[in-house]
C-alpha cells in the first residue's frame, strides 16, 4: 500500500490551505435605507423590496 514517506511540515500544510479562504457574501445597498442587503431578498433593515412594496415592518 502507498504510504507517505515524510511528514508534511506546517509550512507545506499552510501553503496548501492558502486557497481555502471563504469569500464574503455579495451584497447590494438598499435603495430605501442604504443598508447592505442580499440581492433578490427583502431588505431586512427597512422591510422593503423594489421600492414601495413594504412587506413587513421589523422592530427591534
Amino acid at each position: 500500500m502507498a504510504l507517505p514517506k515524510r511528514r508534511h511540515s506546517k509550512s507545506r500544510r499552510d501553503k496548501r490551505r492558502t486557497h481555502d479562504r471563504l469569500s464574503s457574501p455579495q451584497t447590494t445597498l438598499c435603495p430605501q435605507c442604504n443598508e447592505p442587503k442580499l440581492p433578490h431578498r427583502v431588505c431586512l433593515g427597512c422591510g422593503t423590496y423594489k421600492g414601495k412594496t413594504v412587506l413587513e415592518v421589523k422592530e427591534i
Binding site: 433578490h40 431578498r41 427583502v42 431586512l44 412594496t53 412587506l55 413587513e56
Partner: protein, 143 residues
C-alpha cells in the same frame, strides 16, 4: 434520468405532501400571505394558481373541485366572492414570492408568498409603460 419528473417531494410521502399543501392553501386563502420556505412556496404557487383559476370560473363544478382541496367552506366562499373576481383582468400570476432571508435554527431560506393585493392587480398597464420606456431608450440610445 429526471425526464418528466417535475416538482419537489420535500422529503415527504405523497399523502403527507398532499395534506400539507391543503393546509397551506387554506392558510394562504385565509390570510392572503404566508411565510414558508422557498421550496414550499414555489410548489404552493403552482397549486394556488390553479385554485384561483377554478375560483374565476365559479360554476358549480369548479366550486366542488375547490372544496375537495379547501374543506373550510367559509374560506372557499371567500375565494369565489372576494379573491377570484379581482383577477378577472389577469391570466395567471396571481401570487408573488418575496425572499426574506433565512430561518433561525436550521438556516432554511424563507419566503413570503402572497396573493397579489387588489391595488396591484393592474399589471398589464405597467408592462405597457415598461415597453414604452424600452422604446424610448432605444430611440435615444443611438444618438
Amino acid at each position: 434520468m429526471r425526464h418528466q419528473k417535475a416538482g419537489r417531494k420535500l422529503g415527504r410521502t405523497s399523502s403527507h405532501r398532499k395534506a400539507m399543501f391543503r393546509n397551506m392553501l387554506t392558510s394562504l386563502f385565509e390570510h392572503e400571505k404566508i411565510e414558508t420556505t422557498d421550496a414550499k412556496a414555489k410548489e404552493l404557487r403552482k397549486i394556488a394558481e390553479k385554485i384561483v383559476t377554478l375560483g374565476k370560473k365559479g360554476d358549480l363544478h369548479s366550486r366542488r373541485q375547490v372544496l375537495r382541496v379547501i374543506s373550510d367552506k367559509k374560506i372557499a366562499k371567500n375565494l369565489f366572492d372576494q379573491i377570484a373576481p379581482r383577477y378577472q383582468s389577469r391570466n395567471g400570476g396571481y401570487t408573488r414570492i418575496f425572499k426574506v432571508g433565512r430561518r433561525h435554527g436550521d438556516n432554511a431560506p424563507l419566503s413570503l408568498i402572497e396573493l397579489i393585493p387588489e391595488e396591484n392587480v393592474q399589471k398589464p398597464k405597467k408592462r405597457a409603460s415598461g415597453q414604452q420606456k424600452k422604446i424610448a431608450a432605444a430611440s435615444t440610445a443611438p444618438k
